[in-house]
Each structure stands twice: as C-alpha cells, then as structure tokens.
Subunit: 381 residues, 2 copies
C-alpha cells in the first residue's frame, strides 16, 4: 500500500495520480561481481581471478540472525529480486509508488575498506559504468550514487569528475565508516571539492567496518549482531562531529550530506553537547564562526529508516522539535533489506500532514534539487 492512499485520494492504478514519494535509500543488487569484468581496466585483471574476487570487497565479520535481505525477496537459488532493475521497478516504483529511488550500492560502500586502495578505485570506476548501463539508463526514476575509493581521495575526485555529468547521478556514495581517520580530516578535502564543483550531495551509508576501518565499537568488538546494529549510530555521530569540528562545512559551504541508516534520536544530544563544548572550547576551533548545531541543521540530512520507535509515539514529534528543524528527515525504505520500512506503516500516522509531506518528498526535493517535483504551495514556509 502506498502512502498516497492514506494521505490523498484512494490509490488508483496510474502512478501518475499519486503524490510524489522519494526513497533516499534503495540498494541495487548485482548478480555476480564477475559482471564487472567487462568494465574493469586491463591493469586490474591480474587481481580479478576467481580466488580474489571472492575476497572483495572486504566482508564484515558478523553473522545475521535472519540474513540481511527481506525474506520474501530471497529465492530458493539464493538470488534476490534486488538484482533485476525490472523487478525493483515493479515492486518498489510501481508497487509502492516510489517516484524517485536514490540507489546506493552496498558493494561500493565496502570498497573504502580495501587495503589495496588503487585497485579499489579501479573497481569503483568499473562499478559506475556498470551502474549507468544496467540501471540508470533503463529508468530515469533511478538516481545514482557515485562509487569511489575514499582511501584514495585524489582518485575519488577524478572519478567523481568523470561520471558526474550523467543526468541521473545525484551524489557520492560513501560509507559512514571512514578509512583511517574520521571524515573531518583534510585528506578527504578533494572528495568534498569534487562533490561541490559538480553540484552533487554526499550519501553516507551505514557500513559495518571492514578491512582498514578497524573494529565497529570504540574499544573492541561487540558480540551480537543486535549490539552491532545498536552502535551503528556511533559512526554517524563521530562522522558529523568530525566534519563540524574540523570546519569542513566552513571550508565547503555548499556541501550537503545525508546520513542513511544511522537514526536520528541522537541528534539533539549531539547538538547540545557540541554547542556546550564550543562555548567552553572555541579557542581550539577558531575556524568555526557559528554554533555547531547550525552547521548540522544547514548541512546534514537524515534518512528515516530504520525509523525511531519510542514507546510513546508523541516522542517522535518532541524529537523533531529538539532537532530544531522539520527539514532534516527524508523518507527511506532501505529496500530490499530485512528491516525495510514501508511508507504506509513506518512513518507514524499522527504526524501533521505538512511534516509528512516534507519527509516523503519535499525535503528530498530541496536537498537533491529534483526540478521535476512541484514547488511548495503557498501554505508552506
């Protein structure tokens, strides 16, 4: 059931009659990494053998109690419907009514964990060409995220420049778990420069750390997958804190980032802590000209999935009030993953219609600049 049927007129068969629905977190699948071979530069074929392909990208070390894919999308032969653009079109675009599906591959996310960074950059290039030919060129509702090897920021910037011209590319795809150091370090400036000069956003996605990214928890390894899932937000917090404190948004005022699968219940507390710390410690960060929370409100957005689940649903509204902005949340399904959020159920129905509209498409329209979506009506700010 699409959100259209709960918010406007009853859903009818034509997708054109529906409200817009932007899904900022959809994962395209690939049947086999061997599909990338035709797109891979000759110099990297030495690594692209049967044995080594099985080891890229680095795999995180946690087993999942259910498996990571929605059980209804996994077939007996272990294939999944996310591998076929026409199936995703049928299920998500037509079935759910998603009008703009921002694709982020899970494969590209893990490239940043590879110790062999230049090879990772070669794989990113191959992946982008594969993505364009096998997904973006088939349906303009698919929006693309550029794969890069962020451990090689100069090569990443070159790759961004190379494919940013494709009309469906909207952002750069990065794992929230940075290689070597938090995202605020100057080594990553070439990536932000390239994103800004190509008018692209940054999509930071949850990524269990692998390879060169170290353990998933500060000081050690969580035992269960449940714990791992519960500490993902640390990577998001650490990334935002590092970007803000090191002045990245001061140096790149046009940079806009979205955080995917990191939740948002932690945002007010981090804003308060950063603002309080800044009042006491600003001599340490003289390059900051505004309160840290202001950088966050202006530059950072959050995918809604997995949506926060307080016992008392009214706390969702309290939380958004604490964040100090209703423009920061953007709807996401996380299709086809196991904890997929259905738009008709995941977003609490008691939220005001204005806010739901912002979450379902207006905030994403403004963030990505989707010019095919209608402007606000006069009742909006």
């Amino acid at each position: 059931m699409s959100i259209a049927s709960t918010d406007t007129e009853p859903a009818v068969s034509s997708a054109k009659s529906r409200e817009p629905l932007v899904d900022v977190d959809v994962h395209e699948g690939i049947r086999s990494l061997h599909e990338l071979r035709p797109y891979l530069a000759e110099e990297w074929h030495m690594y692209f053998n049967r044995d080594s392909v099985a080891r890229i990208p680095p795999k995180h070390a946690y087993a999942h109690p259910h498996g990571g894919i929605r059980l209804d999308l996994v077939h007996e032969d272990n294939s999944s419907d996310d591998q076929f653009p026409d199936r995703v079109r049928e299920q998500l675009l037509e079935g759910v009514g998603v009008t703009h599906a921002v694709l982020l591959g899970t494969f590209p996310n893990s490239l940043s964990g590879m110790p062999q960074g230049k090879y990772a950059a070669g794989l990113a290039t191959a992946y982008n060409d594969w993505l364009i030919e096998n997904w973006l060129n088939l349906d303009t509702r698919y929006k693309g995220s550029i794969a890069v090897a962020s451990q090689q920021p100069q090569l990443a910037a070159q790759e961004i420049d190379r494919v940013a011209g494709h009309p469906s590319m909207v952002q750069v795809n990065l794992p929230m778990t940075s290689p070597y150091v938090p995202w605020g370090h100057e080594m990553f400036h070439p990536i932000w420069e390239a994103a800004v000069r190509n008018d692209l956003r940054i999509g930071f996605h949850v990524c269990p750390p692998t390879g060169i990214q170290g353990p998933p928890v500060a000081i050690g390894w969580a035992d269960t997958y449940m714990e791992l899932r519960s500490v993902y937000s640390h990577h998001f917090q650490a990334g935002v804190i590092s970007l803000v404190c090191n002045g990245v948004f001061e140096k790149f005022p046009q940079l806009r980032v979205v955080l995917l699968e990191g939740g948002f219940a932690w945002v007010p507390g981090v804003m308060w802590k950063l603002d309080a710390s800044w009042r006491a410690l600003r001599r340490e960060v003289p390059w900051l000209t505004r309160r840290p929370s202001e950088y966050i409100r202006d530059h950072v957005r959050f995918g809604t999935q997995p949506f926060e689940e307080p016992d008392n649903p009214k706390h969702v509204l309290d939380l958004i009030e604490m964040m100090g902005s209703d423009k920061m949340l953007m709807f996401a399904t996380d299709y086809p993953h196991w904890d997929y959020d259905d738009p008709a159920r995941a977003i609490p129905s008691h939220l005001p219609a204005d806010l739901k509209r912002k979450i379902f498409w207006e905030n994403a329209r403004d963030f990505y600049g989707f010019s095919d979506l209608p402007e606000n009506t006069s009742s909006d700010s």
Copy 2:
C-alpha cells in the same frame, strides 16, 4: 552557593541544618605517585623506578585547551587543592555543602589501560591502601571506590574482596573504556560477582582510552579535544549496550552501575533502538527475558555532570520523561575538573522540587544504600 540556600531555608553556618547533598563524582588527588611506594608489594618495586613511574598509568594523547583542572584550584607550583583532603573538605564539603562525596580517582581508572596487567593489579592494591589511610579514614563523608586492574578480572575480584569490608567503600571504580572487549564479555564476570557478593556498586567513569584500550572513536582518531569530549558518550553507550545484550544484568540481578560523565541525552534513543532490535532479533539473545530498556531503568544510573544543555530548558524534562524514570539521575560536581558543575547553577531551577530532591540525594541514597539519610516523606512514590 549551596543548593540548600535555594531550596530550603537560607544557608546557615552549620552544615547540619542543610539538606543532604550527595556528589557522586569527586576526584581525589595525589601529590606524587611516589606516595604509593610504601604501600606497594616488594615484587613490583623493580618497575617503580623514576623512569617507569613517569609512564604509569598510560597517559591519553590529547592536549587540553585549558588544562583539565579548575583554574582557581591550580597554584603557581602546579599543585592543586584536590591533593589535600582538608582543602577538599573545606571547599566542597563545607563550602558547597556536600554531605556525601563519592571519590573516584583518575589514576585507578587508567590502570585498566596498562599492558602489564599484573603490575597494574599491584598498583591498584597499593592505591586502595593509600586511599583508605589518606582519605577515607579522615572523614566519613568521603566514600571510596575500589581501584582494580580490570584487564585481570580474577585479581580484580580478589582485591575487591580484600578491601570491601572498609565501611566507606561503596563501589568498584572502572573506566567506561574497557580493556580488549566491551564490558558485556564473560571475561569480566568475576568483577561483577565480587561486586554483588560484597554489596558494592560499579562506578564507570569517563576515561580517554589509553594503552591497550585503542583509539577513542570507532574507526580512527578524533583531531581536537572538543571532538574527543563529544564522543565520550559512545564509550558509555557501547558499555551499556554490551552489558544488556550479553545478559549481564540477567546473570547478576543485583548488579547496579552508575555512569559518570557520559551524559544522558543519548539514553532514550539507545533504549528505543535496543527495544526495536530486540523485537526483531531476540532469537539471537534468548537469555534476555525483558525488554532491554527495562534492564537499563533497573540497573543503570547516571551522574549529572556535565549537565545536558539544550537551547530550550524544557527539553530537560522531556528527556527525563523519555527515559521513563525519574530515579536515574544522581547529582555530580566532577570536582576539581575544569567543567565542574555547581549545584546551585548546573541543575535547571525550573525542575520540580521533587525531581531536584531525587537528583540531589534521594536517588543516590537508594542506589548506594546510604542509611544515614532520611527515608522519603509520605508524598513520594
């Protein structure tokens, strides 16, 4: 100005007329580690030479923009008033009106970062005997925390058993940053066993990770002290998540812990995330018989310092409502550190009198079992 003068009758010179005021986070100082030599077992004197003492405990690697001690307490010769029990009595017990000062040393916290764990255990023993003779035996208002080397849990348990009989020892002093693995791992069970059998609490204190504890942020190193301060809560979250998910509170139902200097704005979000994850993933943690948030409400308390500072003060009350309990916060000054909280200023004056009384002493009375403090009046739950 003491809280007594704001909440009850004007303060008078006799401390006896004041309301109780429990401070759950006071740091005793030591003039020189060489003071420990008379208390140190002979076998460890080989390490206790001028060169090596300067390297214990492991020092964290961050410089502080102001220095960590209140500037008014640092003298020209670099000594500080925290080193003298009579000065602390004058300033904090008499001056501020603290009736119960729970001492946690910063030295013992760092012992858990030492790679040479058995030597760390020897130092913990020496420190406890020094603490008893130089602080606890001088004034019963000083309450002690037992130093242990948590990387050697069996030795830690022996040490707890050795000194738990002192009437002023109320808890075991641990750094929130565990050695090797998060706190839920079974290697730490001997510590919880010893605490429970001696009716002691656990005081987890913030501790910038040092030595064997790894980097302060999941994946990498924060650059500024401001960032470090803003990610401390990750260690607290990771510790609580690990204790809950691995069933420590199920196995040790009498275990009670207090988290010091980790904030509490993150608590509702972590409760929601854990409860949602548990609903979806409970087959992975079949030993949990209740919702994760219930373990937290029953077993975990939070020191108030540094108090959360939302733009809108009413959000403090919202936050406590989201936590689902008014029994979880306990007042702390963090004397003598730079971001010391004064009881007359740090706790928002608009909080209801009942809640303030809980924060200033009733919750700590119930947590530590301070039998010299009055029971609740009939108006309380």
